[in-house]
Amino acid sequence: MEILGLLLEGFAVALEPINLALIVAGCIAGLFIGAMPGLGSVNGVAILLPMTFLVPPTSAIIFLGSLYYGAMYGGAISSIMLGIPGASTAVATTFDGRPMALQGKADRALVAAATASFVGGTISVVLFTLFAPPLADFALAFGPPEEFALLMLAFATFIGLGGDDIPKTFFSIFIGLMFSAVGLDIVSGNPRLIFFDLPGFYHGINFLVLAIGIYGIGEILWTVETTRGEMVVSRAAVTIRGVVRALADLRHNIRSMLMGSFLGYFVGILPAAGATPGSLMAYGVARTMSKNPETYGKGNVDGVVAPESANNAASTGSMLPMLTLGIPGSPTTAILLGGMVIWGLEPGPMLFIEHKEFVWGLIASLYAANLFALLINIAFIPAFLMVLRMPFTVLAPVIFILCVVGGYAPTQDMHDVWLMLIFGVMGYLMRKLDYPLAPAVLAIVLGPLAEASVRQSLIMAHGSFGIFFERPISAIIMAIAIGLFAWPLIMVVRRLVGPARAD
């Protein structure tokens, strides 16, 4: 009851005219920042943070929170329409969103993405409202061994991602892991894999450079080859009836939506993970749970719904450790944390006691931001669909320019633009030889996290792998992961043994 009262007070704050205006402004700004390849919520929040000194702290966080949300919605747009991940958090949306657009189902993909984002966002805000303090304690229970177990689970769900060709999937994962090891060793601080002594490798390989390269540039090359420049995209007419039908069809995807929401929220509250791993894991789990996993990567609506619900849920989730523990759950919340210091607020356990109106105003504004972002997004869908009416000869150079900007933006280093072009050619060749690309992207995102956590665990245990099985949470997650790893291998063995027995 106390929570309800606090939430109502929060709504009174969030619905003040200035705050309401800021919510709408934040959602729209976020939508466009998210939709621009290379620019994501991190950049948006970092760029606009200094402007927020013009308003009180509560209004400032409401604006930035709405922007964060809007960016989660917006990221899906260029993933679906152009095949370039609009933001790191929308990489997984490319896997099935792009094929859907090519099949003339772009409107359905966009509606599915927006709706899933809404569901993910709403479920996570409700969880946040009801269980913030116990969940914060739960996040604390995750030390390095638990983190590693969880990451193993993520890898396990992706083993099946490359279709039936397990060796090629492993190859793709190992390529990604190798690139993720470039840069500085976190334990010794020594440089590793600095190819040709190029200084650009010191900051490691930003995974967006890989993702934009293989999806953006690789996609252009692939399309040029397969269509000889005469790409025909069946036009999707946008009608209100069409949107309603698309919404009604989503009832088949509720399971993926719920899974994505809970999983995304859960991953989001763990420090250092955030929305990108959350959305990739949700995609992997949705595929593993599916009765027809072979349809993933070919335009399965569940493949859009799962990562999109997860990334919104994770973005709310990552605010939880930020507010309750003062630990950012994602790069974006790290910047928000900096903002709170400037506003004179001390994030941490005392915030809920000392600055109630700030915390509850923010929570209430997330409910409102979610609704506005959904409405604004759906209203803009016809405008986004116009993109597909452009001839390929116009679209290809536009995509190319966006890729270059997207490759440059995260690190502001030309080195990464060249690297992205090389990855583009590499991605095209891998695709031509039928190697799955998604596992490589997953590996470069999760690789550094997994490496840090396994090495920290082993330092703690003086080299004994027992640490992963002695701690209850870690042991349970590890057991599930091992089961999932073993499953496709058992299937392969059965297939190999099966015919022999039949002879």
Binding site: I28, A46, P50, S188, I327, I335, G338, I342
Partner: protein, 330 residues
Amino acid sequence: MKHLGKTAAMAAGLAMAAGAGTVAVSSDAAAAWKPKKPVEFVIMAGKGGGADRLARFIQGIIKKNKLAALPLVPINKGGGSGAEALRYLKDKQGDPHVIMATLNSYYTTPLRNPGLGVDISKFTPIARLAEDTFQLWVHSDTKIMSVKDYVAAVKKAGPKNWKMGGTGKGQEDSLVTAMLEGAYGIKVTYVPFKGGGTVAKQLIGKHIDSTVNNPSEQIGFWKAGKSRALATFTPKRLKAFPDVPTFAELGQNLSYFMQRSVVAPGGIPADAEAYYVDLFDKVYKSEDWQNYLTSKGLLPGWLTGKALQDYFVKEREAHRKLLMSMGEIK
């Protein structure tokens, strides 16, 4: 968006008017040079870490109090423990539109990477804004109330079972840990994490047994009664922690500071240097900065010009000795 755009434009206009006013009114020394374009504010660490948060806080103070006509644009060049940033500053020799926020990797990174070709005594010192401090922390559920209890507990547990969390090897936390080990004849298992905030969280989650966090990283948990500071690595007690003794009081002369300074590339015009010194003098004297220092347990430490350069060189030599004694460099 329209609404926001308008307010932002107004703010920019205001800031510009105010900035122009300041320059015209202030002393002749500072009036001679002012930036012609936005100034790059290089940060030697990645987004979201302690150094990054502090640099953005400084940017915020400048913006909020309208101290500069043209904005500072923060750029993170954290690669190689700041090697990327140091190299960048070296290549910008003579460019007065670049400044950099430093931390102690300013000394240690060039020492550990001689191949970088960076000599920090060639850069232009602007100002030292503060010295961050270190404390020895344990979880409040433990029965360890003093450094004496701590040493006994570590010895009883044995080096294999006592886990000290900290930032990367060769960075500040590991240097402080090595000093502690040397002074009390103890051995711990050092577990490196990505940043001080994560280290603090690991202690509260009881995954590690102790830390040497900056006060600012633990203060939230400390106020909530989740962690306990045993002693401070400073010669005098901190205002924010009047009840926590210093190691000097306990008979061990252990002190270590993390400097928070601003430097510019070498060979910039003297009047540009004067402009930045004047700008950061205003930041230093601002209420926001002074409040931050007191509440987060940092020590004020205004230094500039030759005195600051001498300090940098002296600290570099001290760190050379520390790293050599740890076997990190030859």
